[in-house]
């Protein structure tokens, strides 16, 4: 199990080059949009796109430099960006988080948070249903008190709150 985990998912160098390329594309996007608005000098001063245009140029320039440097970086090629084991750990947190963020819109923040915390407690912490329910619902109730009642900061709510007339 640990042998598998130590295998690299991708080398540092691969990611370095990939990210440099992405940054270059971002810079190109910035240059394109700035040029579209107008990146030259008007009579009354720089046009709207003047500043972003040069920013875009610097982005592209620096990313090219990083790319070239990265090509010859042998140490980075040997070093893993992340091992399979590490990647698994990171994804096991990241994927539920993405789902959680997506669910907030449909279920409201409190219900989504309860499910999110509950998921981790059952899956990772191997807790029983009762403890999980107590903690996850408890945290949501405390947050509700804290934000809705005390700070008076409204957070997104969903069908459950509508049902309970807590809107």
């Amino acid at each position: 199990m640990s042998d598998q985990d130590d295998r690299p998912a991708a080398s540092s160098r691969t990611l370095d080059l990939a990210v440099a390329t992405l940054i270059f594309l971002l810079g190109a996007l910035v240059i394109y949009d700035s040029w579209r608005i107008g990146a030259r000098w008007a009579e009354d001063g720089p046009q709207s796109g003047y500043f972003p245009f040069y920013i875009g140029l610097l982005i592209c320039g620096s990313s090219i430099a990083t790319f070239i440097r990265g090509l010859s970086d042998a140490k980075a090629a040997a070093r893993p960006f992340v091992t399979l084991g590490q990647l698994r750990m990171v994804l096991s947190m990241l994927v539920p988080t993405v789902i959680y963020a997506g669910l907030i819109r449909y279920l409201g923040l409190y219900v989504a948070s309860t499910l999110f915390i509950g998921l981790f407690m059952i899956w990772l912490g191997k807790y029983g249903w009762l403890k999980t329910a107590l903690v996850s619902v408890g945290v949501s109730v405390v947050s509700y008190m804290l934000f809705e009642v005390w700070f008076r900061v409204p957070l997104p709510k969903g069908p459950l709150e509508t049902l309970l007339h807590l809107n």
């Binding site: 370095d16 972003p52 620096s62 981790f120 990772l124 807790y127 700070f151």
Partner: protein
């Protein structure tokens, strides 16, 4: 002296019961934030910022800055007990702090860390008390070209001090500028970089970026080592504290040196993180026990902690006087000031005396409160980290999500937070520095505005940036810092070649 009078007036403002309560709450929250990974100083302040919208600005900033001090103190707790830096600037504290804990001397290490932090912050606050009115008076002479040159200096300093990562620093910084440019251009009314998405009209909020980059990104990185926080126990009682206090005066030279490094790095803007590393390195070089550094030497804890706190505190000096934050957290505080409608910069000292001196007075009080709180509650905070990961991790993420949402009551911000989180994780691993990105995001609009105003004044002539001694001096320094590493590498190569020829 005028400053002392102003300071006394500030104390009067700060010592209201409401503000004192906020101070204590702030410090406790701050330590909690500093202890929990993912809720860092910049991040924690960013999350709690929207909650202070209903408070008067003076009280709000007192609480937020106390959160900042608390976080500065709290980062050391996890570094020493768990070998997990609670804050980026606590990394250097782990070098000697954790070995000390492993040797059973956690209490000594913690006391040393807290006391050094207090000392560093105190030096910095005294510096702020006497230096800021001077700089503010000086800065009242500043016009757009001068302001732009100061911004330029800030950014060039980052690039110049980047040591081998100059290109990545530039990329990071420029991405920050690009993100700042998204949205409505206030001068011409044109939409920039929005590509038809009306949601992007207001641009990217630095708070969301900070929560994502520094919060989620850091959690993801901590996760690599496994889904648990393992740590050592700490025994804290008065005996240990006094015993350590008796030992500390021995390191007065280290403390002063580190405080100096810290104050410099806070003002120049480097921030608390580089300050802690630099002073660790310097202390190691100058100390008699230099080679024992890394095995658990008290001095190895004194140096980074003093510097980090001195830097973190003195970062507020340029923020208040010039409107240029010296660290990511100061950048967030600056953002807060702007949101409350206050203009950081020299006018603050003239028009908002209550606010400024109330804040400075609260720095003294907040640090004392912080030291007391932290010395007495270490076991409590250490226990919090023993809450199983499966509970505490999702709770931290929920807090981050709430924080992101409450900025603009927008779900988009929550999604952006996750995106920034992944970006922060990848950037950190590939050694793209995040501080320039955040700084550029916060300052981008103002830097651009100063540039455009300067250009309007000079009708497009770049020479305005060298038009008088002040502007020319700062711009020159900026360019020097920018190109110095290049020049020094070339000189090094030349020297090596000459030496070869002589052989």
């Amino acid at each position: 002296m005028e400053e002392i009078n102003a300071l006394m007036h500030g104390f009067a403002v700060a010592l209201s019961p409401f503000n004192l309560v906020l101070m204590m709450v702030g410090v406790v929250l701050g330590v909690l934030i500093g202890v929990l990974p993912g809720l860092g100083g910049a991040n924690g302040v960013a999350i709690l910022l929207p909650l202070t919208f209903t408070m008067p600005p003076t009280s709000a900033i007192i609480m937020l800055s106390c959160i900042y001090w608390g976080a500065l103190f709290g980062g050391a707790i996890t570094s020493i007990l768990f070998n997990i830096p609670g804050e980026p600037w606590s990394v250097a504290t782990t070098f000697d702090g954790f070995p000390l804990a492993q040797k059973g001397r956690a209490g000594n290490a913690l006391t040393a860390a807290f006391t050094s932090s207090f000392f560093g912050a105190l030096v910095a606050v005294i510096l702020i008390t006497f230096l800021s009115p001077v700089i503010a008076r000086f800065a009242l002479e500043f016009g757009p070209p001068e302001f732009f040159s100061v911004y330029l200096l800030t950014f060039c300093a980052f690039v110049g001090m980047a040591k081998g990562k100059a290109m990545k620093t530039i990329s990071s910084m420029m991405i920050g500028f690009a993100l700042a440019a998204v949205g409505l251009d206030t001068v011409t009314g044109q939409l920039r970089l929005t590509f038809g998405f009306t949601d992007l009209l207001q641009g990217f909020d630095f708070l969301i970026a900070v929560i994502g980059l520094f919060g989620i990104g850091e959690i993801l990185q901590t996760l690599e080592e496994g889904l648990a926080f393992k740590g050592t126990n700490a025994k804290m009682d008065m005996k240990v504290v006094i015993q350590t206090w008796k030992e500390l005066p021995r390191y007065w030279a280290t403390a002063l040196r580190s405080a100096a490094v810290g104050c410099f790095m806070g003002i120049v803007p480097g921030g608390a993180t580089p300050a802690s590393f630099m002073s660790y390195g310097v202390a190691k070089r100058f100390s008699k026990d230099g080679d024992k550094f890394g095995t658990g030497v008290l001095e190895g804890v004194v140096a980074p902690e003093t510097a980090a706190h001195a830097a973190g505190t003195s970062a507020l000096l340029p923020m208040l006087t010039l409107g240029v934050p010296g660290s990511p957290t100061a950048a967030v505080l600056l953002g807060g000031l702007l949101i409350w409608g206050l203009q950081p910069g020299p006018l603050l000292f003239v028009e908002q005396k209550d606010f400024v001196w109330g804040l400075i007075a609260s720095m003294y009080l907040g640090n004392i409160a912080g030291l007391i709180v932290v010395l007495t509650t270490v076991p409590l905070f250490a226990a919090i980290l023993r809450i199983p990961f499966s509970i505490i991790a999702p709770v931290i993420l929920v807090v981050c999500a709430i924080g992101a949402y409450t900025v603009h009551n927008s779900m988009l911000d929550v999604y952006l937070m996750v995106f920034f989180g992944v970006m922060g994780y990848v950037f950190k691993k590939l050694e793209y520095p995040l501080a320039p990105l955040v700084l550029a995001l916060v300052l981008g609009d103002r830097a651009e505005a100063s540039f455009r105003q300067a250009m309007l004044m000079s009708q497009g002539d770049m020479q305005i940036f060298f038009s008088n001694a002040l502007v020319g001096g700062i711009t020159g320094l900026a360019l020097f810092l920018l190109f110095w590493p290049l020049v020094s590498t070339l000189l090094g190569v030349l020297r090596a070649r000459l030496a070869q020829q002589e052989q």
